[in-house]
Symmetry: C2
Subunit: 245 residues, 2 copies
DNA sequence: GGGATCGTGTCAGTTCGCTGGCACGGCGGC
DNA sequence: GCCGCCGTGCCAGCGAACTGACACGATCCC
């Protein structure tokens, strides 16, 4: 299902149709985009030199909707950065399937497992046609080991993910299903709508779909949301926030 | 309840009763201990220079059992490292209390919130008399910004915590209470026993104590564990592992 | 336009955990 | 040695979520 795996130059050529500028400039633009995604720059701004080192190592890959980017148990051999589209990170299958996370543009993954030398704990499915930047392990290690700004910023990036993960644990412990559902709707909303089927939402909370559906219909009766095919519109964010505890 | 907050030299003097060697050497020994706790050294060994920079900034504080190290909502003004004892990180109170984590010697906390400039999301209670090393924010920032090895190792440390946190989420989603209990007993065991009251264990899983107690007694009837006052002995680790899914 | 696929809506029976309350027994302080 | 505190053990009634199944509607591919 993998459509292409090629040097960044190829992508840059296709981007150049939109943006203008030469390939080299566009490689830098790509790297600058990644730089904006990794941490924030208050503490450690990237130098142009950092950026070109990063640009030289990024490779672009495209995945069709439904295809697998990596599988649970695979060795992590580098870092993935979602450029466009969405990936579902999940464990198990059938009624035991649990969705750990749904990540979109700007999200970074695989670095943790690479750094720790552990296999990937979940499988990544593309929920839509998705473009992914890949930074191979050796280059990653080289950037971290030689460039302080990059190591410093990457630390912030991982810290943000840890804070988010802890917040999710706090949000799950001892909460009623209703509270958890209100919370996840707010978290997963993009432009006022949650573009996920109920089955996926249920798997993110570790509950069965009928339980989720029951609460969603109740929310809908109260005018909080509108349930559509494969998506949910949020109509009253304030009251949802209030309900999420 | 805070008993003392003083330069590291004071602690070193008390350590010297046990270990021998001058104060300066002992400050280094303290820092070396921290270095072993933060990440592991495969990728970035600490230089003696790194160690003395770290040693110069560590301050020792002691907390009595039951006292509060920091409260939810406090600004994180540095990094805590548990030297001995145990801290319970929890949110809420009464029947809504949720225990996010119980941390022991070698654990690092507060750095995430410091780096991200966010308030601490949980309160830390000392479960036993506890000694904590404190690294103030400015020194921490200075170490990260100037010393690549420290930034690199700290990245590994945070990565380990993120991997652990994700594993916990995976272990909670869609698992039966029995599986979750088997899992948490294995995770929290120290020397074949879990030194926590059932109330705390229940708060770590976000369930009520009677629900936990029922399953524990069932485990005990099957010879998996022995329930004691304020602690649980693990008798059959293999079968518990099997039950944890 | 027709069929396959996927997602939603719903149900009845069952299991499971919660509520809150009380009795008992270690453990520590006085 | 006594008392108070804290932790454990347990129960009955209730409510909530699970199981697994089925009907229907939307969407997509041919």
């Amino acid at each position: 299902m993998e459509l292409s795996k090629q040097p960044a130059e190829t992508l840059q050529r296709s981007i150049s149709l939109l943006g203008g500028g030469g390939p080299a400039e566009l490689a830098i633009r790509q790297a600058a985009w990644v730089a904006r995604c990794v941490g924030h720059g208050d503490a450690a701004p990237f130098t142009p030199d950092d950026l070109s080192a990063l640009a030289a190592s990024l490779r672009t890959t495209t995945f069709e909707r439904g295809s697998v980017v990596f599988r649970a148990g695979d060795e992590a051999d580098g870092v993935w950065i979602v450029r466009s589209g969405r990936l579902e990170l999940s464990v198990g299958a059938g009624s035991k399937r649990a969705v750990v996370h749904v990540i979109g543009p700007g999200a970074v993954d695989g670095d943790i497992q690479y750094l720790l030398g552990m296999p990937l704990p979940y499988t990544a499915h593309a929920l839509a046609d998705t473009t992914v930047l890949f930074l191979d392990g050796e280059s990653f290690e080289g950037l971290l080991g030689n460039r302080l700004a990059i190591a410093r910023r990457w630390l912030t990036s991982v810290a943000m993910r840890l804070a988010e993960s802890q917040e999710r644990i706090i949000g799950m412990l001892g909460r009623s299903l209703t509270e958890q559902i209100a919370r996840i709707l707010l978290e997963e909303a993009v432009d006022g709508a949650v573009p996920l089927p109920q089955r996926t939402l249920a798997a993110m909370l570790g509950v069965q779909r009928p339980s989720l559906n029951k609460t969603l219909k109740e929310f809908e009766r109260n005018g909080l949301i509108k349930v559509r095919y494969g998506a949910i519109d949020l109509l009253d964010v304030d009251r949802l926030t209030e309900m999420s505890g």
